[in-house]
Amino acid sequence: MIVELGHFALVLALLAALSQSFFGLVGPAKGQASWMAAVRPAVYAQFALTSVALAALVYAFVQNDFSVLYVASNSNSALPLLYRVSAVWGAHEGSLLLWSWILVGWALAVALLSRSLPVEFAARVLGVMGLISVGFLLFTLATSNPFERLWPAPPDGRDLNPLLQDPALAAHPPMLYAGYVGFAVAFAFACAAMIEGKLDQQWARWMRPWTTVAWAFLTVGIGLGSWWAYYELGWGGYWFWDPVENASFMPWLIGTALIHSLAVTEKRGLFKSWTLLLAILAFSLSLLGTFLVRSGVLVSVHSFAADPTRGLFILAFLVVVIGGALTLYAWRAPVLKSNAGFEFTSRESFLLFNNILLVVATAAVFAGTMAPLIADSLGLGTLSVGRQYFDPVFLLPTLPLIALAAVGSHSLWKKGRLRERRTGILVALGAAALLTAVLVLAVWEGAKVLTPIGFLVGGWLLFSALVDPIDRWRRRLSMTPAILGMTIAHASLGFFVISVTAVESYTRERDIALAVGESGTVGEFKYELRSLEFVEGPNYDALRGEIAVSESGVPISLLHPEKRNYWVQRQQMTEAGIDMQWSRDVFAALGEDLGAGRWSVRAQVRPLINYVWLAALLMAIGGIVAALDRRYRRRGEAT
């Protein structure tokens, strides 16, 4: 009964979304004030109804209602409660419902916080968001209904994919979707501006906090996914250039470009059509990511539910949303030209280069992600693109970008002089050079060609970002949240580059075959397999190893990697044993059973790896802090 109620609420939510988009888009065009006044209530109704639908599905999971096909396929009575809840978004149908709910959640936030916006403009923004809601709800109801019943009901469910039974992965999709869908707000702002044919600096000021917050969510979402892949997949890396990872990374890169381009549009009224294009692209790439993951066009370890009919629906949806927006762009953007000049080393030029490099990096990732598909479509056979391609083509534009940020964040609007900051920038460079020398020569052994370059540009950005706050502190000047947020984000990015450089340069890794009592060495580290025993979990049993690790004869860690057998899905899972130390991770994962009591053990020691994710988290915090700046709310207080 509750389940049918959820289904019914979802149908009503579609009607609410339809009226939201109708009143929001037609109201301003016809100049009907009462129609425009109906937009906000439609958003509230859609939010309430979608919430009921989501709650009904959560209820079905918590109650183990296996007469619901989706529950039977993705849960089991032995599954712990936390994962019964997170199983709601463990597969396609529920993910879509969550997506729709987050989308209307953003629309609700816009509805509540847009009182200061002109009525027509707010109505149009919400109208565009309603149109996107219509597409997603229609998609859910027509091809991916999570409330479908299964008769006769099986005695028990098929369980959640064991890969997804993990706390980080319970939180990863909501965060990622919040980021993806958050770009819908920027997209809707861009469409509304194009429909009105008016785009001023005020517009950019409204849009900035929304874009930055969405970007922060996406940053956390990607970080969580990467962290999960590290300890759960048992491969030990943090990034694999997998199509699904790329699908989330491309909107992030474009979103980063958008944040910077918006700064120029707000402060100087420049880059207008470019900003519009980036806003359209960021959300388009989010949708494209969904398409790639859900259609099975690109085969990936992540695509759990691939289905060509669904792919066709999403493709049609892409054509309507992205095609519509780009057509609008081709028609309206020429009207929104900006005329003003700037000097070569002004902040505008630095941000222009920032945008160019980010777009080039995105294009490179895009090309690599799509290449297998292009080769296949043209009948050239299968092609796989790996890090041999991605690493160099990505670093080529991004390493200069980091150095550019170290200098450019001190540049001035319009003028080409770096003023008294020149000293600060050079001191930061000197400090970075010193740090590089210490790290390369004294701390770790075995630097590669790119190692000093990575440390140098990363360190430069890190120290350079601190120049401004130190300067302000010495001159007893206050810090605005905007500047503080920028400082945190830039410093974290520098820190991120240093950490990645350390991981990539100084990781010790080897696969060794061990029986109980045997040991093997990885560089200066010795791994000794002490014991192997069977243990039992709530819905799995496992072989648990105890591995003692010593460095140059000194014991440093005791690891407990597991090889788990999940009962229902009969799937073997690797649970890595990781000792997190302040400067490094000591890692062991059980690989294959080699017979005669010997196991292959994946032994790795990775310096600074946890700081890669910490830096990503700090970057996101920087974004949130910047979005809290008072000047974004000033007009709100005035009305």
Binding site: P154, D156, G296, P308, G311, W331, I374, Q569, R570
Partner: protein, 174 residues
């Protein structure tokens, strides 16, 4: 040429590409087994509840079904009545590959629900299932009188699949 049209143009090309891509995407719900048209992988396994072993070679010259099942599999229970019906019609013998299962539980299951199988090789380690490319249970293979795999059904067998895919092949129509 309007430069503002360029993004829309690039997007149109991309859509065309994705459209072609979709048409070629493998439909994962009916993964065609690479074994189809090839000789069935040979195996020799202990028989459930007995000291003897069974080799699938011994089925030579006869059509048979290889049904992969386990007591831990909810879908297998749903499928069981269908298997009993096929067995009662006697058109084709069913070999029941008991996959990664507890022998006692498997025997109890058959006592309670009835036994549709002519013989039950027990694949406790799951090695044979790997050779056969088993992705999950239940799965059912159709093997012809020359030992060639002719068809594979993923998920619980249902009358529609039986009548449209299995029977025509067995009767030599398809």
């Amino acid at each position: 040429m309007n430069r503002f049209l360029l993004p829309a143009g690039i997007f149109a090309a991309l859509v065309a590409l994705l459209f072609v891509g979709i048409q070629r995407a493998p439909n994962k719900s009916v993964i065609a087994s690479p074994l189809i048209g090839k000789p069935a992988p040979q195996f020799e396994l202990p028989v459930l509840g007995s000291a003897e072993t069974f080799a699938n070679e011994s089925m030579g010259g006869r059509w048979y079904l290889l049904n992969v099942w386990g007591t831990w599999c909810a879908e297998c229970r749903r499928e069981h009545d269908m298997l009993l019906e096929i067995a009662s019609r006697g058109e084709v013998p069913i070999v029941g590959l008991n996959w990664k299962d507890d022998p006692a539980a498997a025997q109890q299951w058959l006592e309670q629900l009835g036994n549709p199988y002519v013989i039950i090789p027990a694949d406790r380690e799951g090695r044979v299932a790997i050779d056969w490319g088993v992705y999950g249970a239940p799965e059912t293979f159709l093997i012809d009188d020359r030992g060639i795999v002719r068809y594979k059904h993923v998920g619980a067998l249902h009358p529609l699949a039986w009548e449209s895919e299995f029977l025509p092949r067995i009767r030599g129509v398809k």
